[in-house]
């Protein structure tokens, strides 16, 4: 189980409290599809992903981005129980969606960059380290039910 310092708990809660989920989620997912275009393989039913503008304007991408962020919030509320929190989603991504778990790290890096761009100077090295530790723990939980 992951050990969290008081600083890390406070920082994670603080970051998510200040995020506009409805813009950050879509921004992170669309960024991932632009920066790592091979991730588009999982979104063939989403419609036009032909170029960056199309991706960023795609309503299905936006909707899915919001879902991802709201699911991350569950992790923020259950930092000491991530494995169980994400067990169902892990099974879903493995058995139904067949997503290579390496992709989780890609979207988590994109989310880090989106948060960094929003927070600017407030996103210090220490804040970044805390967020990355949290996202890595979520990524690990999401990969747990793959066999």
């Amino acid at each position: 189980m992951v050990e969290w310092t008081n600083y890390e708990r406070a920082t994670i809660k603080d970051i998510f409290a200040k995020l506009d989920y409805d813009s950050v989620g879509p921004a992170a997912l669309s960024r991932c599809l632009v920066v790592y275009p091979w991730t588009q393989r999982y979104f063939s039913k989403f419609g036009n992903l032909y170029n960056a503008a199309a991706i960023m304007g795609n309503p299905n991408v936006a909707k899915h981005g919001k879902i991802i962020l709201h699911d991350l919030e569950r992790g923020v509320k259950n930092m000491d129980n991530l494995k169980e929190t994400y067990a169902d989603l892990s099974v879903l991504h493995s058995e139904k969606l067949h997503v290579d778990p390496d992709n989780f790290k890609l979207i988590s890096d994109c989310l880090t960059i989106v948060v960094a761009a929003q927070m600017g100077k407030a996103f210090t090295g220490e804040v970044q380290a805390a967020l990355q530790k949290f996202l890595a723990a979520v990524v690990s939980a999401l990969g747990r039910q793959y066999h």
Partner: protein, 149 residues
Amino acid sequence: MGPARQAAMLSKKEKELIADIWESLTPVAEDIGADALLRMFASYPGTKTYFSHLDISPRSAHLLSHGKKIVLAIAEGAQDIGQLTVTLAPLQTLHAYQLRIDPTNFKLFSHCMLVALACHMGEDFTPVAHAAMDKYLSAFAAVLSEKYR
């Protein structure tokens, strides 16, 4: 994939975008460079082992000068990406025979540089700029480690 091919993966527009961004950052080279290094040390403590001979506390002279060196080298490479292997030849030798930094660390530093750019540029660090920059930094790192073995 060889570094020359990686550099070739960048379109003309992307190369121009990258060159423009790094030119605009040259005046704040030491701030961006030091910021990226500090982020790397905070998230990936193992990277500090390469700096045991320097004072890498925030705003230290060593940190600023080292950050500046790195950013200026990246900026110089960005002015003619097709010539990366030529431009970086001395640094290739330095890294292969003297510094011998494990190349995994280049990925960690590149990620932290992208974060530093995001903090500095805000929404100007668009997904398109991010994609181009990620490709450039990967090509740069690949060229840097070309003489390792």
